[in-house]
Symmetry: C2
Subunit: 180 residues, 2 copies
């Protein structure tokens, strides 16, 4: 068995364990991923299309997942005024409780030394970047690590969307992010 195969297996098993680990709410792995993404994405990146891009599924599937999250009261719709086709989903207080609750795998990662943990994170990130580059996928990094991120009057500013941003927004995931 090659090293590559082993790494792939490890990643898949860890993802499975993570998915199977107890989570609050009546949510399956995909729904939890959607909720987790919405919790960390900025207001310009919370539409069904963005979620599908992030998760690598189709818009049809995402619509279904959002429908069941909506029904369970974890998210709410916000239709855009500017473009009436666009919907941005936001977490309800109930959804925020769940998204902020304890993270599976946390103990397992804590048991790693902090050097090892940093090495793990950077190797995973490189791998993800390489893999995404092959597929034309986006990285979905944080706003503040983007080439379009500026400072304007001491506050964060997006040169692409030509909008001022709150400090909080600069720390969120953005669909348009292009790493520096």
């Amino acid at each position: 068995m090659t090293t590559h195969t082993q790494i792939r297996e490890l990643i898949n098993r860890l993802a499975r364990l993570d998915a199977a680990s107890g989570w609050a709410g009546n949510l399956n792995p995909t729904q939890r991923s959607v909720l987790g993404y919405l919790a960390r994405a900025n207001q310009f990146s919370r539409s069904p299309s963005h979620v599908s891009d992030y998760l690598g599924t189709t818009r049809g599937t995402t619509t279904q997942s959002l429908k069941s999250l909506l029904q369970k009261g974890y998210v709410k719709e916000q239709r855009s005024e500017l473009d009436k086709r666009v919907i941005s989903y936001a977490l309800t207080p109930k959804g925020q409780d769940i998204a902020g609750s304890a993270v599976p795998m946390e103990d397992a990662l804590n048991a790693l030394g902090s050097n090892e943990r940093d090495a793990l994170q950077s190797a995973l990130l490189s791998t993800l970047r390489n893999a995404l580059a092959k597929n034309g996928g986006r990285e979905f990094g944080l706003c503040k690590t983007c080439i379009h991120h500026r400072e304007k009057g001491g506050a964060p500013y997006c040169a692409l969307l030509k909008t001022a941003l709150s400090a909080e927004e600069a720390d969120q995931i953005c669909h348009e992010q292009v790493p520096v």
Copy 2:
């Protein structure tokens, strides 16, 4: 966002990418995982129960997956004579073709330096061990890295099952494996 959350996200996204990447055959991610496991497990570790333990799902689900792999001609049943309840699944030649075909994510991992790749593998393995220890899960490591592995007359021997093993078997996954 904490480092832990980021690592979890990276693992989940990579697993999703891996699942979505093109594979031969008409197989979904779970079926591919089952096939991949069967391809690498020894003859004592290829029953529905073992597959469920490995994947962390229930026996019911595994039965369904095996049924569809059987129907598609990728695996075949081998009922045990010793214990008539037990079934061991083996890959057909067609199944071996698929299991041996190109691995998604291979290029992404190749782009990593070999040091970084080794660090990645060992950090992932530690994390998996920690996580499994919490759940009482087994590691499913290779036979030759097990405390029950011996040499007898120059050939591998399992002190638990009290059986001689081929060199090939010593290199396979065993359900009973306990890391040295």
